[in-house]
């Protein structure tokens, strides 16, 4: 019973860990460069899920004091009773960073493909070895 509670109650954290591991695996183990980039994106998205999970609360109000409806103004002062907006804001910034990383990685992939005509790491290293031998 306790174990089930542990798994179901922290459901989003489990998903975050599984997603992160999938992404991590793809970045390290995959031999295709595009798959590595996709893995990187999954890895980063998992972190977003983690941050958002930390700020979620059931039955809490929005963090606005002025012009709040009825009782909400009182609740919004107590930390336990409002949903913390800061992790969301942090993640907005982090998303911008992640999109730029993704963009740089894709730009590099285009250049790799222009140079070697492939995304497969093995083939790229074969080409490089041939070049080395020619020298």
């Amino acid at each position: 019973m306790d174990t089930a509670q542990f798994i179901i109650g922290k459901f989003n954290y489990w998903v975050y860990i599984v997603l992160m591991m999938i992404g991590f695996y793809a970045m390290i183990a995959k031999r295709n460069l595009v798959k590595k980039v996709v893995g990187m994106n999954i890895f980063q998205t998992a972190i977003i899920l983690f941050f958002i999970s930390t700020s979620s609360k059931s039955g809490a109000t929005i963090p606005i004091i002025q012009n709040a409806h009825g009782d909400a103004a009182g609740h919004a002062i107590n930390v336990a009773q409002y949903a913390n907006p800061l992790p969301h804001v942090l993640m907005l910034t982090a998303i911008v960073v992640m999109v730029s990383t993704f963009g740089v990685a894709l730009a590099l992939l285009i250049m790799v493909n222009r140079d070697y005509g492939t995304f497969e790491e093995d083939e790229i290293y074969e080409t490089l070895e041939v070049l080395q031998l020619k020298k």
């Binding site: 991590f24 970045m27 460069l33 590595k36 990187m40 890895f43 980063q44 972190i47 983690f50 941050f51 930390t54 930390v79 913390n84 800061l86 992790p87 942090l90 910034t93 982090a94 960073v97 730029s100 990383t101 740089v104 990685a105 730009a107 590099l108 992939l109 250049m111 790799v112 140079d115 790229i124 490089l128």
Partner: protein
């Protein structure tokens, strides 16, 4: 003096990066003087900040007037101000050096974008240095890294591939750092370093804090290329353009080392990182492995820049070892070595750039008789090499002296021995290099063997003096002067600045 200099230190290069792009599109020639002027201003701001810190103590600059737990704060003490001076001065000199080398290695139309990204990289580095907010540090870390990926990718040969590898590794590092921030925030509700310093001690027994600390350490270790996580560095820094290698080798890893010190001894108290969990012990062994590995690999390399990259990995080992022995001499040595290594690495990569610019040579075995052609450059190379090895009047000696003293004070005889052993390996690297350059068969004799008398004249002409242009030589001279002067005045630097950076209880 200038009350807003902490903010200006970041804003000026950031705005200048955008202006540089716009002005460059109208007139390409404007970029270079503009970048040099901007970085000159950064040097002034960083010295001004240092002056304020020396006079009035720690600066806590609140952006937009917001109080710390809510707003972002720039927290500047002796350590950051010192690192900020190193970063801004070195990047200023690299900018002066860049002109000729970039014109040769880059297509003309790309120069504008090069300088734009160059300024963004420096914005990121200065931002990491002076920010007092752990999430803000993450953002600047990524600005610097992204600019770094782009700059490395414009290099030659396998630069794009090396840069891609760096993107993957660097992103793992940055994401681990971000996770660390997330775990800390979820238990403390604060991102401000000073705020966290007061909140964390009550939570030291929490597992979440341990996880956060582990994520921070591994993330930063990837960013500074500490030994087992260094694989991206040699390729990336070898194939990058000369200017970029000099900049990133001299500043990026040093700033990372600063973040590591900040996390270990300011964010977490020394009690946590030394006694509660054995971080310093683990780091000490990792650093020792880095020194030996870097030294052995450096001996085995033939590419001059790649040799320097492995020496850089060993130097990072020295810095981390100095931090990990956790006493006054060791820490002083580590901070001093951050400065000295920045100057030495910039100087050596400048020389590699100058040799490549003039002769197109990259491999050490091709450097035969180079002292006939470029005597001044080679003299500078020898001085810089003596400093890296650690010969007394140069600055490298003094930081190594303190590091060895630190290891002895901590009763870590084995580490003291490894420090000396690693220095000897570096000595082997440079003795081999000197032997190749000076003691190769004289060109005249070689020519006499190979050709008849008529081509003799040609050979002599080929080996006549031909130094790199002044815009390259002056930065090299400044760095060599720096190596000698920083060595001679290291006592004054320690008593004026570095002694205040040592954490309490050391």
């Amino acid at each position: 003096m200038i009350t807003q200099s902490p903010a200006l230190l970041i804003i000026v290069p950031l705005i200048a990066a955008l202006l540089c792009l716009l002005m460059g599109l109208i007139r390409r020639g404007v970029c270079y003087p503009f970048v040099v002027a901007t970085l000159g201003m950064c040097v002034i701001f960083s010295f001004d900040i240092m002056g304020t810190v020396l006079r009035e103590g720690v600066i806590r600059y609140r952006l937009g007037g917001w109080e710390p737990p809510w707003g972002i704060e720039y927290l500047i003490d002796h350590l950051n101000a010192f690192i900020a001076i190193i970063v801004s001065s070195v990047s200023f000199i690299v900018a002066i050096f860049s002109k000729k080398s970039i014109e040769q290695e880059l297509h003309e139309s790309k120069i504008i974008y090069f300088y734009t990204i160059f300024l963004l990289l420096i914005t990121g580095l200065l931002g990491i240095t002076i920010s007092g907010d752990i999430f803000n540090i993450y953002v600047f870390l990524e600005i610097a890294s992204l600019a770094g990926y782009a700059l490395i990718a414009i290099g030659r040969d396998r630069a794009v591939l090396a840069s891609f590898e760096y993107v993957v590794m660097g992103t793992i590092g940055a994401c681990f750092y971000l996770l660390g921030v997330g775990y800390l925030y979820s238990v403390t509700g604060s991102l401000n370093i000073m705020d966290l310093t007061t909140l964390l001690p009550n939570l030291y027994q929490s597992k979440v804090i341990l996880i956060a600390f582990a994520f921070f350490m591994v993330g930063i270790a990837i960013k500074i290329a500490l030994f087992p996580l260094h694989v991206w560095l040699p390729d990336a820094y070898t194939y990058a353009p000369s200017t970029v290698s000099a900049l990133v080798a001299a500043t990026m890893t040093k700033v990372g080392a600063y973040v590591m010190i900040r996390i270990m001894f300011t964010l977490f108290q020394p009690y946590f990182s030394i006694e509660l969990i054995p971080t310093t012990t683990i780091l000490g062994w990792v650093a020792a492995a880095a020194m030996i590995f870097g030294g052995i690999q450096a001996i085995a390399q033939t590419d001059f820049k790649r040799t320097l990259c492995y020496i850089l990995i060993a130097e990072i080992g020295y810095i981390v070892l100095g931090v990990s022995v956790a006493n006054r001499s060791g820490f002083t040595g580590a901070v001093l070595h951050i400065m000295n290594d920045a100057v030495m690495m910039a100087c050596l990569f400048f020389i590699a750039g100058a040799i490549f610019y003039k002769t197109g040579l990259r491999y050490i075995y091709e450097f035969k008789n180079l002292h006939r052609k470029m005597p001044v450059t080679i003299t500078c190379l020898v001085i810089a090499a003596l400093s890296v090895v650690g010969v007394p009047p140069t600055c490298g000696f003094f930081s190594k002296w303190y590091l060895v003293l630190g290891a002895i004070d901590a009763r870590q005889w084995f580490f003291a021995f490894l420090l000396l052993a690693s220095s000897l390996m570096v000595a082997v690297v440079f003795f081999k290099m000197v032997q190749t350059i000076f003691f190769a068969p004289a060109p005249a004799m070689e020519a006499a063997h190979a050709h008849s008398g008529t081509s003799h004249h040609n050979e002599e002409h080929k080996h006549s003096r031909d130094e790199a242009p002044a815009s390259m030589m002056v930065p090299i001279f400044v760095m060599v002067a720096g190596i000698l002067l920083l060595g001679i005045f290291s006592g004054q630097i320690i008593s004026a600045i570095i002694q205040y950076t040592v954490p309490e209880g050391f």
